[in-house]
Structure formats: C-alpha cells, structure tokens
C-alpha cells in the first residue's frame, strides 16, 4: 500500500482525510484505486482520455512523476504520492 497525501481542495472528496492509502503497482494504478474508493476524485485527477490532468501535479515521494515514467512509474510499499493542484490564496 502507498500513502497518498490529499491536497485541501480534494479532502472533501475523501471524507476529509489528509492522507489515504491505496494499492497498485504503478502511479496510475494507485490513483485509479483511489478513484475507485472515492469516485468524486476521478474527474479531478484524470481527463476523459484517462490521462493525468495537466493542472494536477503528482509526486512520487519528492519527484514529479512527469520526469519519471508518468502514470507508469513503479510504486513500492511505503512510497508516498503527493497530489498537488495549484493554489492561489494570498489574502
């Protein structure tokens, strides 16, 4: 199982949790497992073609999966995925 850190804007979709666990061999599988358990995260993470939305960054531990193998990046037990959409509040 990998740990997924949920950003503030997605927490309502996962019952208010900051972290959830999900399983899968690679980043895509883990995120799809998350979307299975919490269906309202699906359209926020994936485009209709099943790609990761361009406005969402996903990090495996501290590295952007786009510079790794994207959704095919292998995920091991104990890895952490960070989901990060842009935030603009400043006031």
């Amino acid at each position: 199982m990998a740990t997924i850190k949920i950003p503030p804007v997605l927490r309502a979709s996962v019952g208010g949790e900051k972290e959830v666990s999900a399983s899968g061999e690679n980043v895509g599988d883990v995120l799809r497992d998350l979307a299975e358990s919490h269906p309202s995260t699906r359209e926020q993470l994936f485009s209709t073609e099943g790609e990761l939305n361009r406005y969402v960054n996903v990090y495996l531990n501290d590295e952007d999966v786009r510079v790794l193998d994207g959704l095919d990046t292998a995920v091991g037990d104990g890895d952490t995925l960070v989901i990060l959409p842009a935030m603009a509040g400043g006031r």
Partner: protein, 393 residues
C-alpha cells in the same frame, strides 16, 4: 617565566607565515580569503578590496562562517601586522587552518605603497545601532546591511501574506518597499493582516501599510500603487525592482506576474495559503523553473478556491509570509540556498513541512524562450477566468 610583549611578538612571528603587501595585491580577486582583524570602527574607515571584517576578539567564533575550508588560502591583516600575527597563530595552531599568512606592515604599509583602499559607505550611528544584530552576523555585516538598504522589493498585496512580509522586510532595513493593493482595510482582514489595525478600517491598505512601516523604520521608502495589477500596467510597475513578493489571491494575476517577471528576469518569491496549508517557492527566471513550469494550466473552477472567499487560519499567512521574507533577504544578500526548483508544502495542523522538486519544463510556453521573444500580447494569457469563476458560483 615572564616575556615582554616585544619578545612575545618576535616569537609568534617566527612561528607563522607572513606575506608582503605587493604579493597580496596580486592575489586580490583570485579567490583568496582576505580577513581584516581590526575593530569594526577601523574597518569602516577603509579596507583592502573584498576584505571581510572579523575583529580579532571574534576571530575564533566567526572565522568558520567566512572561511569554512581548513585548506583554503587565508590572508589576515590589521593596522601594522601585529594583531594579524597573533590571529594567524590562533588559526594555524589552535584551529587547524593550513594556509594562513599575516600581511606585513598591515594596512598602513599597504596605503604607504599607494595600493587601492575600499571605503565602505558608512552606516549612521543610529543605523549601526538599529541593525546591530545584523552587523554581528558575518554573512550580513555592514556590507550586507548596505545591500539591504539599497534593495528594492515589490509586494503584490498588503494582505495576509504581504502584511508580515512588509513588516519584517521594513524592520530588516530593505530600503525601498513598493506595495500594490487597491483595497481598503476591512474588519475581517484584521484576524491575520497585522500591518493594519482597528483604527484604520476603511482606509486604503497602501496608506495603512505605509503608516505602519514608517513607524517601524523611517529608513524605508514606501512606494504606493493603489491599483489592481493587470496587463496594461504590470511592466511599468515591476520594472526596476530587485525581487517581487507574490501574495496575490488569484490565478490570472499569478500567470501574468510570472510571464512579466520572466521577461524582465526578476526573481519572484511566491506563496499561497488555504485553510491550514501553505505552499512556497522561489521562481528565479532562467536559473530555475517558472510558475508555468510548475503549473502549466490553472485548475478548473471547482478546484480553484481562489474564486471566492475562503477560510484561513489567521497565523498561517504569518508563517508563510515570513518564509517569503526570509527568502527575499537571502536573495538580496546572495546567501544560503533559496527555494529555487523546490516547492515547500507546510501543513499547520500536522506541523509538517514536505518538499517536492520542481523542474524547468523544456517546453514551457514562457521560460523556454529568450526574454526578448516574449511579446506583450502573450503576457498572462489565460482562459476566460471571470466567466469560469462565475460558472463555479
């Protein structure tokens, strides 16, 4: 056994290496550490070009921050070559520095030879007192304080993030603070916007901020821009600033600011806050990624909480704003490792700080091109945001 001071000096000099001023002159600018061990008052009257000031009384405690590497070439000097001889003995025999030399004849002989002396712009007695805790840090000192006094920093927003940033940058003696904000102080701001106060509800934020800054530090020149920044005014407002602090609350302005600062090559210290969470990064054009490398596209309305008012823990902008102020000071002084190419994620409830890497995107629509190739009409190109905020309700 008692020893006269003349005899002691003779003994010490026999144990250390000395160097003639003519040789030192050839080594200036060659990466050799030149340390002035006289008192700070003497240093202020003139010193060797590029010399660092470490008064002998502070030598042991401060030398490592000026010269970390024990095998580095170090040249010490004082007024006549006596104090630097004692200091050279200390560094060599007590601290293990391997290549320390004391300049014979000190700066007196240096001047007699007609060599160049650098005269630091003097801080006033009041400034020496006001900034004394900076002057005591070798990484800052009088030279660094002068850099701060010469620096021009622009704050976008005198709100949650801008309030603490402005106060601490003013206290630190940043000489010019520009403030862009077209808003007035509202009672609901005061839970976090600490530069304003209850008496100033209803007054323009730029005026209120200026009043607080003046009261804190009259050295600081405040330049007020009571406008909303947009594509028509951004270039003339930001040009000439050394660092920009981004505390804006909406995506269109963040993208606009990014594009304009890449074109003008001005570093931006960016932070954002929501609820109990904060993000921070430094975007230094062409040295690291830009905001569009990090977030190529803005999120859709339902994922973009900046569209309306959102809750935020009152102290959170304080935390994030002060991290921004710290990065600004580091950029001005050229010290430390600014958060370039890194995004820091602060979770106040968990009391955790997570860091992720941010890479330059070789296909970035903005910073993959040379600054002069970025045209006016490309700045801040963005989906129709008002329409999409309206759609979000």
């Amino acid at each position: 056994m008692s020893v006269s001071s003349a005899e002691l000096l003779r003994q010490i000099k026999s144990r250390i290496d000395e160097i003639d001023p003519s040789e030192v002159k050839e080594l200036i600018g060659e990466g050799v550490a030149i340390v002035d061990v006289r008192g700070s008052e003497e240093f202020a009257t003139g010193h060797l070009p590029g010399a660092k000031s470490i008064p002998r009384g502070h030598l042991e405690s401060r030398i490592e921050s000026a010269v970390r590497d024990r095998s580095a070439q170090v040249i010490l000097y004082c007024a006549s070559g006596q104090r630097s001889a004692y200091a050279a003995r200390t560094l060599t025999e007590d601290m293990g520095y391997e290549h320390v030399r004391s300049m014979t004849g000190g700066i007196t002989l240096w001047k007699d030879r007609g060599y160049e002396v650098e005269i630091p712009r003097a801080l006033s007695a009041e400034q020496r007192d006001r900034y004394s805790r900076h002057l005591l840090i070798p990484e800052i000192g009088a030279e660094g304080q002068q850099k701060l006094l010469d620096a021009k920093v622009l704050l976008l927003g005198a709100g949650g993030l801008g309030s603490p940033t402005a106060l601490y940058l003013a206290a630190a003696g940043v000489g010019t603070l520009g403030i862009v904000d077209d808003d007035e102080v509202d009672l609901s701001n005061l839970q976090r916007q600490v530069i304003h106060n209850t008496q100033r509800v209803g007054t323009p934020k730029v005026d209120s901020a200026e009043e607080s800054i003046r009261a804190l530090n009259p050295d600081v020149k405040v330049v007020k821009y009571p406008v909303r920044i947009d594509a028509s005014n951004i270039m003339e407002i930001i040009e000439g600033y050394d660092v920009i602090v981004d505390g804006v609350d909406n995506f269109p302005t963040r993208y606009l600011l990014n594009d304009a600062t890449v074109r003008l090559q001005i570093p931006v210290v960016s932070a954002s806050i929501l609820g109990f969470d904060g993000q921070l990064s430094v975007f230094k054009p062409y040295e690291g990624p830009c905001y569009r490398c990090l977030f190529r596209e803005p999120p859709p309305a339902e994922l973009a909480p900046s569209c309306g008012a959102n809750g935020v823990l009152g102290v959170l902008p304080g935390t994030m704003g002060l991290l921004q102020a710290t990065e600004v000071v580091k950029l001005i002084l050229g010290i430390g490792d600014p958060a370039i190419g890194r995004l820091l994620l602060y979770d106040a409830l968990g009391a955790t700080l997570t860091e992720v890497k941010v890479h330059r995107d070789p296909e970035c629509p903005i910073c993959s091109r040379a600054p002069d190739e970025i045209r006016d009409e490309e700045l801040g190109v963005f989906p129709d945001y008002e329409a999409f905020c309206a759609a979000a309700g």
